[in-house]
Symmetry: C2
Subunit: 496 residues, 2 copies
């Protein structure tokens, strides 16, 4: 059985066509703000759409059937094709003239990582900044389809577990499930984005900043239009609380939001992952806030203006940073690597957590941690009772053994890629803390790292190879490892 | 079914009696060198033996039967009882007057970690230094029994896998297997120690240094009698090559040595773990040597005298440090955290490797890594073929699923304890690199850490709580996590 390359190229063409369409929106934005980049962005859109149309035209009359193996190629290829075409607005406008830098910024966008190479963000034309935020939002749309419709069918990392809960017809065919489920959840995604934009505008942000930050929040991306990131609004707590609310929503399962709007609140109350996601956010915020309040001497810092008192400041910055890291958004209101040694390690640990499955967040994700911890505790019981068969339960259902296996294998692979990721960054000259933080952050699609890649710094200091490597790690993490790595195994290319 | 506490206390008494006997040997050493500590060590021996005899006397007439649950208590309790009594020579002689420090040094000894709080090792009486090395060697004896006879029966971390290969009668009862298997392997352990002592003496070491370093090599402990550790002999390559040879043996499975002496060389050639252990050592040495030679500017360093040229120096120090870290011996000929950023991360990664199962080394161990990697690769195959049952094979045999499960759970638990370990050290004020390095090193029973705990430094700068915490991590790592942690689970204390 050989691969159906025609449909692969056909779908890549379709993606390019859509991407060109999105560029048009950015061009319109550029035109409204009269930022001088309108023609360049339009040109990028035209080039992208022409290539897309050509690719679709040349592969017309393909067989409609997409099998598992083609699925892996389409997912990885799709993200690459988007990133390769997404650089055009940067290159054509000269906003980011260097290809490596432009590609880094773009893949960081589509993977919703939000690590940036820009030293002066505010110097860029509005249309380009909007395009930058839009790459996040497009990436987020992709992730929703991926998590809810594609990965479960491809059998990746335990995603089967909650796919059963997703709305839409339950079918084994890719096509109807994708279109039907995706449409419902995209509507919620779109609605949340509009809601956040309105609230931020009402709270005092400019419309431009409001829409950009909303695009970057719901996708858990983290690009900001300000050099200071969200620390720019440290004197306006209300704005930060609004972002906090939407980060929390973006890191939760969109399927639950869907049920909430359908009035089925019990679905949320009985969801184990949501419960622990909330517990983690609250618990870790308390720990961080107490340490910041009693141990970190930030009272006098420029970044922590005491608008509503020192306690509120410690609480808000902790809540914001905990959510920003757990949901892997990566917005920055304060440099957590500068609070205390303990909090540096603490937040580094949170790089690995991730939000809920079915959200746009990266990382390992709460569901997987829960299953791994449950299985670990049961292992003690199994050890005592001579390896009796004691299954793991999740949301009151027994989890099939091979799914637990799959999740643990994901965890091990994640750790392995983290170690290799750190080693490569170390080989490229980064010191211990920067290398380890950079690898963990890229793999988890968080954004800010540690050391020289700390939240107030950026990734521009990396050597070119380091930028490519981090981009690879972002893609790997974003596509749940297996989807990308499976393409490198001999099993994949064997004809059976 | 209630626990048979009488036999637990009886065996603790027996251990104390043995430990007192070992102290007598140290006292004799002390007398020969006339170091002024002879009476103190003798007093420590007498106190220990009296308590041991009392405990045995009071629990005479116990039921002989040891069940699984008592097994866990005996193992953890045994190491604690040894450590608590092992402090006496330090305290009585005033060599280490502080209890926390003395306990740290002792548990670091018995767990064969080799982390020290001594600022000036050479100032100590010979008898005390010998006792210090002896705690390593006693710990090593304990580990051999543990790994080959006890842990497999307790069902810990996949140790069942190679227990089938161990010599001696295969029985499910603890008693005959322990005595029979242990005796054969202890003989090899003892023989290697004697052989290394003789070779080191012939190569130019003093007898005292030779025997101490042999005790610390075969147990993969790493205490040295010199402040510079084995870097003291950086101008005598032959001595270091001898230590290299015995580190390699100490990190390999003693069961294989047994078969080698029986003439069954094919057992070694067909052992998968030994093959990869060798490949790892050779491969990692090559990487390290190339980086040291071409990138690290050590040509002029005092620690790297060019006795046999710069290339040999780079090779020797790399081989020495790779073996020292992989076998978790922790001897130091050069500060690998001072070579390049890449090598710091590289050696940090090796902290997690460990030697072979059935050796005295700590860490995760090669066998577990092999099974985890094999299972991870097969997971790709399972993903492609809709989770078909594809078992892991090891040494040409199918490994039962629950053993693979158990090994992976061990790995996850190891990572979890590493993270918690780092967080606690961070909370105690250690910086990122020191906290992470210290936790990994303690858990893996390596010895030297990173940052402020680098190979040329020691653990004396830790706050008292940090010393206790590191001691706990050492015990945890040494007893393969489950053995200790299971005592903290509710399952354990439930009567069934
Ligand atoms: K992000
Ligand atoms: K050691």
């Amino acid at each position: 059985m050989s691969l159906n390359y025609r449909i692969i190229f056909h779908l890549m063409g379709l993606l390019l066509l859509c991407n060109g369409g999105f560029m048009i929106i950015a061009a319109i934005f550029s035109g409204i703000y009269n930022d001088g980049a309108t023609l360049d962005i339009t040109l990028a859109a035209i080039v992208t759409m022409i290539i897309g149309t050509l690719s679709m035209f040349l592969t017309r009359g393909h067989k409609k059937e997409v099998k598992k193996k083609e699925g892996y190629i389409i997912v990885t290829g799709g993200w690459l094709v988007m990133s390769l075409s997404g650089v055009l607005p940067y290159l054509f406008s000269g906003a980011i003239p260097d290809f490596t830098n432009a590609f880094f910024e773009t893949i960081s966008g589509y993977t919703t990582t939000g690590a940036s190479i820009l030293d002066d963000i505010e110097a860029l034309p509005e249309g380009i900044l909007f395009w930058r935020s839009l790459t996040h939002w497009i990436g987020g749309m992709g992730i929703i389809v991926l998590a809810i419709a594609i990965l479960p069918l491809l059998g990746i990392g335990g995603m089967q577990l909650f796919a059963a809960e997703a709305p839409g017809p339950s079918s084994d065919k890719l096509h109807p499930r994708i279109t039907d489920t995706a449409k419902r959840l995209w509507l919620i995604y779109f609605g949340y984005t509009v809601a956040e934009t309105i609230l931020l505008k009402l709270a005092g942000m400019s419309f431009f900043d409001a829409i950009n930050h909303s695009l970057a929040t719901l996708s858990t991306g983290g690009f900001s239009t300000k050099n200071l990131s969200t620390a720019y609004w440290n004197d306006q707590p209300l704005i930060q609380y609004i972002i906090i609310l939407f980060m929390f929503l973006a890191g939760s399962n969109f399927v639950l939001s869907y049920y909430a709007f359908k009035g089925k609140v019990q679905k949320i109350l009985f969801d184990e992952e949501f419960k622990f996601y909330t517990i983690f956010v609250v618990g870790f915020t308390i720990v961080s806030a107490l340490v910041v309040y009693f141990k970190a001497n930030v009272a006098v810092s420029e970044y922590h203006p005491m608008i509503w008192g020192e306690a509120e400041s410690a609480f808000r910055h902790s809540l914001f940073q905990v959510l920003s890291v757990i949901t892997t958004t990566g917005f920055v209101t304060a440099d957590f690597t500068n609070w205390t040694h303990f909090l540096t390690i603490f937040y580094f640990g949170l790089f690995f957590l991730g939000g809920c499955a079915g959200s746009t967040s990266g990382g390992i994700k709460v569901m997987r941690h829960l299953l791994i911890i449950k299985n670990g505790l049961l292992e003690f019981k199994r050890t005592l009772h001579s390896n009796a068969v004691i299954p793991v339960r999740y949301n009151n259902k027994t989890v099939r053994e091979h799914i637990v296996y799959n999740i643990i294998a994901f965890f091990v692979l994640y750790m392995l890629m983290f170690i290799i990721g750190s080693l490569v960054l170390g080989a490229l000259g980064l010191d211990f803390e920067s290398a380890i933080g950079g690898a963990a952050s890229s793999l988890g699609n968080v954004g800010p790292g540690l050391g020289s890649l700390n939240p107030l710094s950026n990734f521009n200091g990396l050597p070119a190879l380091g930028k490519w490597w981090c981009g690879f790690l972002m893609l790997l993490g974003r596509l749940e490892l297996f989807t990308v790595l499976i393409l490198f195994t001999p099993y994949f290319w064997k004809k059976i």
